[in-house]
Amino acid sequence: MSTVVVHPIHRAVRFYEAPIGKKAVMAATGVILVGYVFAHLLGNLQIYSSDAQQINRYAAFLHNPANAVALWAARSALLAAVVLHIVAATQLWLQNRAARPQGYVKKKDVPASYAARTMVWSGPIVAAFIVFHIMHLTMGSVLPVRDIGLNPNTPDVRWNVIAGFQNPAVAGFYIFAMILLCMHLYHGIWSLFQSLGVNHPRYTPWIQKASAALAILVAVGNCSIPIAVLSGLLTY
Protein backbone atom coordinates (compact mmCIF):
# COMPACT_ATOMS: atom_id res chain seq x y z
CA MET A 1 0.00 0.00 0.00
CA SER A 2 1.32 3.44 -0.88
CA THR A 3 1.97 6.01 1.80
CA VAL A 4 -1.20 7.90 2.50
CA VAL A 5 -1.14 11.38 3.99
CA VAL A 6 -3.97 11.80 6.44
CA HIS A 7 -4.39 14.89 8.57
CA PRO A 8 -3.06 14.19 12.08
CA ILE A 9 -6.28 15.31 13.77
CA HIS A 10 -8.29 13.06 11.51
CA ARG A 11 -5.92 10.23 12.36
CA ALA A 12 -6.33 10.85 16.08
CA VAL A 13 -10.12 10.82 15.72
CA ARG A 14 -10.03 7.53 13.79
CA PHE A 15 -7.73 6.08 16.41
CA TYR A 16 -10.05 7.07 19.23
CA GLU A 17 -13.13 5.76 17.39
CA ALA A 18 -11.92 2.20 17.86
CA PRO A 19 -12.41 0.61 21.29
CA ILE A 20 -8.73 -0.41 21.31
CA GLY A 21 -7.85 3.26 20.81
CA LYS A 22 -10.04 4.27 23.76
CA LYS A 23 -8.49 1.51 25.82
CA ALA A 24 -5.00 2.75 24.94
CA VAL A 25 -6.03 6.22 26.13
CA MET A 26 -7.25 4.67 29.39
CA ALA A 27 -3.99 2.80 29.77
CA ALA A 28 -1.81 5.86 29.04
CA THR A 29 -3.80 8.05 31.42
CA GLY A 30 -3.76 5.15 33.90
CA VAL A 31 0.04 5.21 33.85
CA ILE A 32 0.01 8.95 34.65
CA LEU A 33 -2.49 8.44 37.49
CA VAL A 34 -0.64 5.46 38.95
CA GLY A 35 2.62 7.44 38.82
CA TYR A 36 0.90 10.25 40.66
CA VAL A 37 -0.53 7.88 43.28
CA PHE A 38 2.97 6.61 44.07
CA ALA A 39 4.49 10.09 44.23
CA HIS A 40 1.63 11.11 46.50
CA LEU A 41 2.20 8.09 48.75
CA LEU A 42 5.86 9.06 49.18
CA GLY A 43 4.73 12.57 50.08
CA ASN A 44 2.19 11.29 52.62
CA LEU A 45 4.60 8.93 54.37
CA GLN A 46 6.75 11.91 55.36
CA ILE A 47 4.26 12.41 58.19
CA TYR A 48 6.12 9.63 60.02
CA SER A 49 9.40 11.59 59.92
CA SER A 50 10.99 12.15 63.32
CA ASP A 51 11.14 15.79 62.29
CA ALA A 52 7.54 16.94 62.83
CA GLN A 53 7.95 19.82 60.37
CA GLN A 54 9.22 17.59 57.50
CA ILE A 55 5.84 17.21 55.79
CA ASN A 56 5.07 20.92 56.19
CA ARG A 57 8.38 21.82 54.58
CA TYR A 58 7.55 19.48 51.69
CA ALA A 59 4.17 21.23 51.31
CA ALA A 60 5.81 24.66 51.44
CA PHE A 61 8.23 23.50 48.73
CA LEU A 62 5.34 22.43 46.48
CA HIS A 63 3.50 25.70 47.08
CA ASN A 64 6.56 27.89 46.72
CA PRO A 65 5.66 30.62 44.19
CA ALA A 66 8.90 29.79 42.37
CA ASN A 67 7.39 26.36 41.54
CA ALA A 68 3.96 27.67 40.57
CA VAL A 69 4.37 26.97 36.88
CA ALA A 70 5.46 23.38 37.48
CA LEU A 71 2.68 22.86 40.03
CA TRP A 72 -0.03 24.07 37.68
CA ALA A 73 1.43 22.15 34.76
CA ALA A 74 1.28 18.95 36.83
CA ARG A 75 -2.24 19.73 38.06
CA SER A 76 -3.45 20.40 34.51
CA ALA A 77 -1.90 17.19 33.22
CA LEU A 78 -3.53 15.20 36.03
CA LEU A 79 -6.90 16.82 35.44
CA ALA A 80 -6.65 16.11 31.73
CA ALA A 81 -5.69 12.50 32.47
CA VAL A 82 -8.62 12.03 34.87
CA VAL A 83 -11.08 13.57 32.40
CA LEU A 84 -9.84 11.48 29.45
CA HIS A 85 -9.82 8.32 31.59
CA ILE A 86 -13.40 8.87 32.77
CA VAL A 87 -14.72 9.85 29.34
CA ALA A 88 -13.18 6.79 27.65
CA ALA A 89 -14.33 4.48 30.50
CA THR A 90 -17.87 5.81 30.27
CA GLN A 91 -18.05 5.49 26.47
CA LEU A 92 -16.74 1.91 26.56
CA TRP A 93 -19.05 0.99 29.41
CA LEU A 94 -22.12 2.26 27.56
CA GLN A 95 -21.07 0.52 24.34
CA ASN A 96 -20.38 -2.74 26.18
CA ARG A 97 -23.72 -2.68 27.96
CA ALA A 98 -25.48 -2.13 24.66
CA ALA A 99 -23.66 -5.13 23.20
CA ARG A 100 -25.82 -7.48 25.30
CA PRO A 101 -29.33 -6.03 25.50
CA GLN A 102 -30.78 -9.24 26.93
CA GLY A 103 -28.84 -10.78 29.80
CA TYR A 104 -28.67 -14.38 30.99
CA VAL A 105 -31.00 -15.95 33.51
CA LYS A 106 -27.90 -17.58 34.98
CA LYS A 107 -24.34 -16.35 34.44
CA LYS A 108 -21.14 -17.37 36.21
CA ASP A 109 -18.09 -15.13 36.33
CA VAL A 110 -15.12 -17.39 35.89
CA PRO A 111 -12.35 -16.43 36.38
CA ALA A 112 -12.84 -12.63 36.38
CA SER A 113 -11.90 -11.30 39.81
CA TYR A 114 -14.28 -9.24 41.90
CA ALA A 115 -11.93 -6.31 41.36
CA ALA A 116 -12.08 -6.71 37.58
CA ARG A 117 -15.87 -6.86 37.50
CA THR A 118 -16.30 -3.78 39.68
CA MET A 119 -13.88 -1.37 37.90
CA VAL A 120 -16.82 0.74 36.87
CA TRP A 121 -17.84 1.13 40.56
CA SER A 122 -14.42 1.45 42.19
CA GLY A 123 -13.45 4.11 39.61
CA PRO A 124 -16.27 6.59 40.26
CA ILE A 125 -16.07 6.11 44.04
CA VAL A 126 -12.35 6.91 43.89
CA ALA A 127 -13.22 9.95 41.73
CA ALA A 128 -15.75 11.13 44.33
CA PHE A 129 -13.10 10.60 46.97
CA ILE A 130 -10.62 12.72 45.00
CA VAL A 131 -13.11 15.60 44.98
CA PHE A 132 -13.70 15.24 48.73
CA HIS A 133 -9.96 14.92 49.39
CA ILE A 134 -9.17 18.14 47.48
CA MET A 135 -11.98 20.00 49.26
CA HIS A 136 -10.75 18.69 52.60
CA LEU A 137 -6.99 19.22 52.48
CA THR A 138 -6.26 21.49 49.51
CA MET A 139 -9.16 23.93 49.63
CA GLY A 140 -9.94 23.56 53.33
CA SER A 141 -13.67 23.76 52.74
CA VAL A 142 -14.72 20.66 54.71
CA LEU A 143 -13.04 21.06 58.11
CA PRO A 144 -11.06 23.92 59.64
CA VAL A 145 -7.43 24.02 58.42
CA ARG A 146 -4.34 25.86 59.62
CA ASP A 147 -1.51 27.63 57.87
CA ILE A 148 1.99 28.06 59.26
CA GLY A 149 2.18 31.51 57.68
CA LEU A 150 5.56 31.51 55.91
CA ASN A 151 4.82 32.55 52.35
CA PRO A 152 1.29 33.03 50.94
CA ASN A 153 0.24 29.35 51.02
CA THR A 154 1.98 27.13 53.56
CA PRO A 155 -0.63 24.79 55.04
CA ASP A 156 0.05 23.11 58.37
CA VAL A 157 -0.39 19.74 56.70
CA ARG A 158 0.54 17.80 59.80
CA TRP A 159 -2.17 19.50 61.87
CA ASN A 160 -4.77 19.39 59.08
CA VAL A 161 -4.30 15.66 58.50
CA ILE A 162 -4.23 14.65 62.15
CA ALA A 163 -7.17 16.85 63.15
CA GLY A 164 -9.12 15.55 60.12
CA PHE A 165 -8.49 11.88 60.92
CA GLN A 166 -9.48 12.35 64.56
CA ASN A 167 -12.98 12.47 63.09
CA PRO A 168 -13.77 8.74 62.63
CA ALA A 169 -16.17 9.40 59.75
CA VAL A 170 -13.48 11.20 57.76
CA ALA A 171 -10.84 8.57 58.59
CA GLY A 172 -13.31 5.81 57.69
CA PHE A 173 -14.09 7.32 54.30
CA TYR A 174 -10.38 7.64 53.51
CA ILE A 175 -9.81 3.98 54.42
CA PHE A 176 -12.83 2.87 52.37
CA ALA A 177 -11.67 4.86 49.35
CA MET A 178 -8.15 3.41 49.60
CA ILE A 179 -9.54 -0.14 49.63
CA LEU A 180 -11.44 0.66 46.43
CA LEU A 181 -8.35 2.28 44.89
CA CYS A 182 -6.49 -0.91 45.77
CA MET A 183 -9.12 -2.97 43.91
CA HIS A 184 -9.03 -0.61 40.93
CA LEU A 185 -5.27 -0.88 40.64
CA TYR A 186 -5.24 -4.63 41.37
CA HIS A 187 -6.93 -5.15 38.00
CA GLY A 188 -5.89 -1.83 36.43
CA ILE A 189 -2.10 -2.09 36.50
CA TRP A 190 -1.79 -5.49 34.83
CA SER A 191 -4.73 -4.64 32.58
CA LEU A 192 -2.95 -1.64 31.11
CA PHE A 193 -0.13 -3.88 29.94
CA GLN A 194 -2.61 -6.15 28.18
CA SER A 195 -4.39 -3.14 26.64
CA LEU A 196 -1.10 -1.88 25.23
CA GLY A 197 -0.34 -5.31 23.80
CA VAL A 198 2.12 -6.68 26.36
CA ASN A 199 1.32 -10.29 27.20
CA HIS A 200 3.80 -13.11 27.36
CA PRO A 201 3.44 -16.45 29.16
CA ARG A 202 6.74 -15.88 30.94
CA TYR A 203 6.19 -12.29 32.14
CA THR A 204 2.43 -11.83 32.52
CA PRO A 205 2.09 -13.91 35.71
CA TRP A 206 4.77 -11.68 37.27
CA ILE A 207 3.12 -8.51 36.00
CA GLN A 208 -0.10 -9.68 37.65
CA LYS A 209 1.64 -10.41 40.94
CA ALA A 210 3.50 -7.09 40.88
CA SER A 211 0.24 -5.31 40.06
CA ALA A 212 -1.45 -6.84 43.12
CA ALA A 213 1.57 -6.08 45.31
CA LEU A 214 1.72 -2.42 44.21
CA ALA A 215 -2.03 -1.99 44.71
CA ILE A 216 -1.78 -3.41 48.24
CA LEU A 217 1.29 -1.30 48.99
CA VAL A 218 -0.58 1.90 48.08
CA ALA A 219 -3.58 0.96 50.22
CA VAL A 220 -1.54 -0.19 53.24
CA GLY A 221 0.76 2.84 53.09
CA ASN A 222 -2.06 5.36 52.85
CA CYS A 223 -4.45 3.59 55.28
CA SER A 224 -1.72 3.39 57.91
CA ILE A 225 -2.05 7.17 58.46
CA PRO A 226 -5.75 7.36 59.48
CA ILE A 227 -5.26 4.15 61.49
CA ALA A 228 -2.25 5.60 63.29
CA VAL A 229 -4.23 8.74 64.14
CA LEU A 230 -7.36 6.89 65.27
CA SER A 231 -5.35 4.56 67.49
CA GLY A 232 -3.53 7.51 69.06
CA LEU A 233 -0.08 6.51 67.76
CA LEU A 234 0.21 9.66 65.67
CA THR A 235 -0.61 12.89 67.49
CA TYR A 236 0.07 16.52 66.73
Binding site: M1, T3, V4, V6, R11, R14, F15, E17, A18, P19, I20, G21, K22, K23, A24, L92, Q95, N96, A98, A99, R100, P101, Q102, G103, Y104, V105, K106, K107, K108, D109, V110, P111, A112, A116, R117, M119, H187, W190, S191, Q194, S195, L196, G197, V198, N199, H200, P201, T204
Partner: protein
Protein backbone atom coordinates in the same frame (compact mmCIF):
# COMPACT_ATOMS: atom_id res chain seq x y z
CA UNK B 1 -30.00 -40.51 35.99
CA UNK B 2 -32.72 -37.89 36.26
CA UNK B 3 -32.02 -34.35 35.08
CA UNK B 4 -34.23 -31.28 35.32
CA UNK B 5 -33.77 -28.79 32.49
CA UNK B 6 -34.78 -25.16 32.17
CA UNK B 7 -34.43 -24.34 28.47
CA UNK B 8 -34.87 -21.04 26.65
CA UNK B 9 -37.76 -21.50 24.20
CA UNK B 10 -38.33 -18.85 21.56
CA UNK B 11 -40.43 -19.54 18.48
CA UNK B 12 -38.62 -17.18 16.12
CA UNK B 13 -36.42 -14.09 16.03
CA UNK B 14 -39.35 -11.75 16.65
CA UNK B 15 -41.04 -13.78 19.39
CA UNK B 16 -40.59 -13.15 23.08
CA UNK B 17 -38.92 -16.18 24.61
CA UNK B 18 -39.11 -17.75 28.07
CA UNK B 19 -37.50 -20.47 30.14
CA UNK B 20 -39.44 -23.77 30.11
CA UNK B 21 -38.93 -26.59 32.59
CA UNK B 22 -38.50 -30.20 31.38
CA UNK B 23 -37.77 -33.45 33.20
CA UNK B 24 -35.55 -36.04 31.52
CA UNK B 25 -35.85 -39.12 33.76
CA UNK B 26 -33.88 -41.62 31.67
CA UNK B 27 -30.48 -39.99 31.05
CA UNK B 28 -27.59 -42.38 30.48
CA UNK B 29 -24.25 -41.14 31.81
CA UNK B 30 -22.52 -42.09 28.53
CA UNK B 31 -24.73 -39.76 26.51
CA UNK B 32 -23.29 -36.53 25.27
CA UNK B 33 -25.11 -33.35 26.21
CA UNK B 34 -26.59 -33.11 22.72
CA UNK B 35 -27.74 -36.76 22.86
CA UNK B 36 -29.53 -35.93 26.08
CA UNK B 37 -31.30 -33.11 24.19
CA UNK B 38 -32.07 -35.61 21.37
CA UNK B 39 -33.78 -37.86 23.92
CA UNK B 40 -35.80 -34.95 25.21
CA UNK B 41 -36.74 -33.99 21.65
CA UNK B 42 -37.92 -37.57 20.84
CA UNK B 43 -40.25 -37.33 23.81
CA UNK B 44 -41.48 -33.88 22.80
CA UNK B 45 -42.16 -35.07 19.24
CA UNK B 46 -44.00 -38.14 20.56
CA UNK B 47 -46.18 -35.79 22.64
CA UNK B 48 -46.80 -33.63 19.57
CA UNK B 49 -44.78 -30.71 20.95
CA UNK B 50 -42.18 -28.61 19.14
CA UNK B 51 -38.66 -30.04 19.66
CA UNK B 52 -35.90 -27.79 21.05
CA UNK B 53 -33.90 -26.28 18.19
CA UNK B 54 -30.13 -26.31 18.66
CA UNK B 55 -27.18 -26.09 16.28
CA UNK B 56 -24.82 -29.02 15.77
CA UNK B 57 -22.96 -30.73 12.99
CA UNK B 58 -19.82 -32.81 13.57
CA UNK B 59 -20.51 -33.75 17.19
CA UNK B 60 -16.82 -34.35 17.58
CA UNK B 61 -15.70 -30.92 18.76
CA UNK B 62 -14.20 -29.64 15.53
CA UNK B 63 -16.84 -27.81 13.50
CA UNK B 64 -17.88 -25.06 15.91
CA UNK B 65 -21.61 -25.36 15.27
CA UNK B 66 -22.79 -26.41 18.72
CA UNK B 67 -22.87 -24.36 21.87
CA UNK B 68 -25.14 -23.11 24.61
CA UNK B 69 -24.82 -21.69 28.09
CA UNK B 70 -25.17 -24.42 30.72
CA UNK B 71 -25.72 -23.00 34.21
CA UNK B 72 -24.13 -19.74 33.14
CA UNK B 73 -21.00 -21.17 31.51
CA UNK B 74 -20.50 -21.38 27.74
CA UNK B 75 -20.27 -25.05 26.63
CA UNK B 76 -20.92 -26.14 30.22
CA UNK B 77 -18.65 -26.85 33.17
CA UNK B 78 -15.88 -28.90 31.55
CA UNK B 79 -12.86 -26.85 30.44
CA UNK B 80 -11.63 -26.98 26.82
CA UNK B 81 -14.70 -28.96 25.70
CA UNK B 82 -17.48 -28.20 23.24
CA UNK B 83 -21.05 -28.94 24.23
CA UNK B 84 -21.16 -31.94 21.88
CA UNK B 85 -18.13 -33.45 23.64
CA UNK B 86 -19.50 -32.88 27.13
CA UNK B 87 -20.81 -36.13 28.58
CA UNK B 88 -23.55 -36.54 31.10
CA UNK B 89 -21.22 -38.40 33.49
CA UNK B 90 -19.93 -34.96 34.48
CA UNK B 91 -23.32 -34.24 36.04
CA UNK B 92 -25.07 -35.84 39.02
CA UNK B 93 -28.40 -37.58 39.26
CA UNK B 94 -30.99 -34.95 40.21
CA UNK B 95 -29.05 -31.97 38.78
CA UNK B 96 -30.93 -28.93 37.52
CA UNK B 97 -29.46 -27.32 34.40
CA UNK B 98 -30.27 -23.94 32.87
CA UNK B 99 -29.68 -23.95 29.12
CA UNK B 100 -29.65 -20.63 27.29
CA UNK B 101 -28.55 -19.44 23.85
CA UNK B 102 -25.44 -17.28 23.30
CA UNK B 103 -26.52 -13.74 24.11
CA UNK B 104 -25.13 -10.78 22.22
CA UNK B 105 -26.64 -8.00 20.19
CA UNK B 106 -24.45 -9.21 17.30
CA UNK B 107 -25.82 -12.80 17.66
CA UNK B 108 -29.62 -12.52 17.41
CA UNK B 109 -31.60 -15.58 18.45
CA UNK B 110 -33.12 -17.38 15.47
CA UNK B 111 -35.02 -20.01 17.42
CA UNK B 112 -34.65 -21.55 20.91
CA UNK B 113 -30.89 -22.16 21.30
CA UNK B 114 -29.95 -21.30 17.71
CA UNK B 115 -28.32 -17.90 17.15
CA UNK B 116 -27.23 -16.17 13.96
CA UNK B 117 -23.42 -15.96 13.99
CA UNK B 118 -22.97 -14.47 10.51
CA UNK B 119 -21.33 -11.44 12.17
CA UNK B 120 -18.30 -13.75 12.49
CA UNK B 121 -18.38 -14.40 8.74
CA UNK B 122 -18.37 -10.66 8.09
CA UNK B 123 -15.39 -10.25 10.42
CA UNK B 124 -13.54 -12.88 8.40
CA UNK B 125 -14.55 -11.19 5.15
CA UNK B 126 -13.20 -7.90 6.54
CA UNK B 127 -9.70 -9.20 7.25
CA UNK B 128 -9.44 -12.92 7.95
CA UNK B 129 -7.77 -13.83 4.65
CA UNK B 130 -4.38 -13.82 2.92
CA UNK B 131 -3.39 -13.04 -0.65
CA UNK B 132 -2.13 -16.10 -2.59
CA UNK B 133 -1.54 -16.85 -6.22
CA UNK B 134 -4.01 -19.35 -7.53
CA UNK B 135 -2.98 -22.17 -9.79
CA UNK B 136 -0.77 -25.07 -8.83
CA UNK B 137 0.03 -25.65 -5.17
CA UNK B 138 3.22 -23.94 -3.94
CA UNK B 139 6.29 -26.01 -3.12
CA UNK B 140 6.08 -27.52 0.33
CA UNK B 141 9.11 -25.88 1.89
CA UNK B 142 9.51 -22.86 -0.39
CA UNK B 143 8.59 -20.43 2.40
CA UNK B 144 10.45 -21.09 5.62
CA UNK B 145 8.53 -20.68 8.87
CA UNK B 146 10.34 -20.73 12.21
CA UNK B 147 9.08 -23.63 14.31
CA UNK B 148 8.09 -21.44 17.26
CA UNK B 149 5.97 -19.17 15.05
CA UNK B 150 4.39 -22.13 13.30
CA UNK B 151 3.41 -23.55 16.69
CA UNK B 152 1.90 -20.27 17.91
CA UNK B 153 0.02 -19.80 14.63
CA UNK B 154 -1.26 -23.37 14.90
CA UNK B 155 -2.49 -22.77 18.47
CA UNK B 156 -4.47 -19.75 17.25
CA UNK B 157 -5.70 -21.61 14.16
CA UNK B 158 -7.41 -24.11 16.47
CA UNK B 159 -10.29 -21.60 16.78
CA UNK B 160 -13.48 -23.20 15.47
CA UNK B 161 -15.51 -19.98 15.53
CA UNK B 162 -18.16 -21.31 17.91
CA UNK B 163 -18.76 -17.93 19.56
CA UNK B 164 -18.38 -19.12 23.17
CA UNK B 165 -15.95 -16.23 23.76
CA UNK B 166 -18.60 -13.68 22.81
CA UNK B 167 -21.25 -15.50 24.82
CA UNK B 168 -19.16 -15.64 28.00
CA UNK B 169 -17.63 -12.16 27.76
CA UNK B 170 -19.34 -9.73 30.15
CA UNK B 171 -19.15 -7.20 27.28
CA UNK B 172 -20.14 -9.56 24.44
CA UNK B 173 -16.80 -8.78 22.81
CA UNK B 174 -15.43 -10.77 19.88
CA UNK B 175 -11.83 -9.98 20.80
CA UNK B 176 -10.69 -13.57 21.36
CA UNK B 177 -12.06 -14.64 17.97
CA UNK B 178 -10.48 -11.66 16.19
CA UNK B 179 -7.21 -12.09 18.07
CA UNK B 180 -7.13 -15.77 17.10
CA UNK B 181 -7.49 -14.93 13.40
CA UNK B 182 -5.00 -12.07 13.62
CA UNK B 183 -2.42 -14.26 15.38
CA UNK B 184 -3.04 -17.27 13.15
CA UNK B 185 -2.56 -15.33 9.90
CA UNK B 186 -0.18 -12.57 10.99
CA UNK B 187 2.42 -14.89 12.53
CA UNK B 188 3.04 -16.62 9.22
CA UNK B 189 4.99 -15.04 6.36
CA UNK B 190 2.05 -15.73 4.03
CA UNK B 191 -0.26 -13.54 6.10
CA UNK B 192 2.22 -10.92 7.24
CA UNK B 193 1.64 -8.71 4.16
CA UNK B 194 -1.94 -7.82 5.17
CA UNK B 195 -1.19 -7.48 8.88
CA UNK B 196 -1.89 -3.73 9.21
CA UNK B 197 -4.96 -3.74 6.95
CA UNK B 198 -6.31 -6.85 8.63
CA UNK B 199 -6.38 -5.50 12.16
CA UNK B 200 -7.72 -2.08 11.16
CA UNK B 201 -10.51 -3.61 9.04
CA UNK B 202 -11.50 -6.28 11.57
CA UNK B 203 -11.62 -3.83 14.48
CA UNK B 204 -13.79 -1.45 12.44
CA UNK B 205 -16.07 -4.32 11.39
CA UNK B 206 -16.49 -5.52 15.00
CA UNK B 207 -17.54 -2.00 15.94
CA UNK B 208 -20.06 -1.95 13.10
CA UNK B 209 -21.45 -5.32 14.22
CA UNK B 210 -22.00 -3.79 17.69
CA UNK B 211 -19.83 -6.27 19.52
CA UNK B 212 -18.55 -4.97 22.86
CA UNK B 213 -14.88 -4.44 23.62
CA UNK B 214 -12.33 -6.17 25.82
CA UNK B 215 -11.94 -5.28 29.52
CA UNK B 216 -9.35 -8.00 30.14
CA UNK B 217 -11.61 -10.26 32.20
CA UNK B 218 -10.31 -13.43 30.53
CA UNK B 219 -13.69 -15.18 30.78
CA UNK B 220 -13.38 -16.04 27.07
CA UNK B 221 -10.10 -17.86 27.72
CA UNK B 222 -11.74 -19.87 30.52
CA UNK B 223 -14.45 -21.27 28.23
CA UNK B 224 -12.69 -21.52 24.86
CA UNK B 225 -13.08 -25.16 23.79
CA UNK B 226 -9.74 -24.87 21.99
CA UNK B 227 -7.85 -23.29 24.90
CA UNK B 228 -6.98 -20.09 23.04
CA UNK B 229 -5.29 -17.59 25.35
CA UNK B 230 -5.92 -13.84 25.69
CA UNK B 231 -2.32 -13.45 24.60
CA UNK B 232 -3.84 -13.29 21.09
CA UNK B 233 -5.89 -10.25 22.17
CA UNK B 234 -2.69 -8.52 23.29
CA UNK B 235 -1.27 -9.32 19.84
CA UNK B 236 -4.33 -7.74 18.21
CA UNK B 237 -3.93 -4.63 20.41
CA UNK B 238 -0.23 -4.48 19.51
CA UNK B 239 -0.94 -4.84 15.78
CA UNK B 240 -3.66 -2.20 16.01
CA UNK B 241 -1.48 0.32 17.84
CA UNK B 242 1.37 -0.34 15.38
CA UNK B 243 -0.88 0.09 12.34
CA UNK B 244 -2.38 3.29 13.71
CA UNK B 245 1.02 4.66 14.66
CA UNK B 246 2.49 4.05 11.21
CA UNK B 247 -0.70 5.08 9.42
CA UNK B 248 -0.48 1.95 7.30
CA UNK B 249 -3.49 -0.25 6.83
CA UNK B 250 -5.96 2.63 6.68
CA UNK B 251 -7.50 3.21 3.27
CA UNK B 252 -7.21 6.69 1.74
CA UNK B 253 -10.40 8.67 2.09
Amino acid sequence: MRITLHIWRQENAAAKGRMVRYEVPNVNEHMSFLEMLDVLNEELIAKGEEPVAFDHDCREGICGMCGAMVNGVAHGPLAATTLCQLHMRHFKDGDTLYIEPWRARAFPVVKDLVVDRSAFDRLIAAGGFIGVSTGSAPDGNAVLVPKEKADLAMDAAACIGCGACVAMCPNASASLFMGAKIAHLGLLPQGDAERDQRVVAMVAQANAELFGSCTNMAECEAVCPKGIKIEVIARMNRDFLGAKWSGRGTAKE
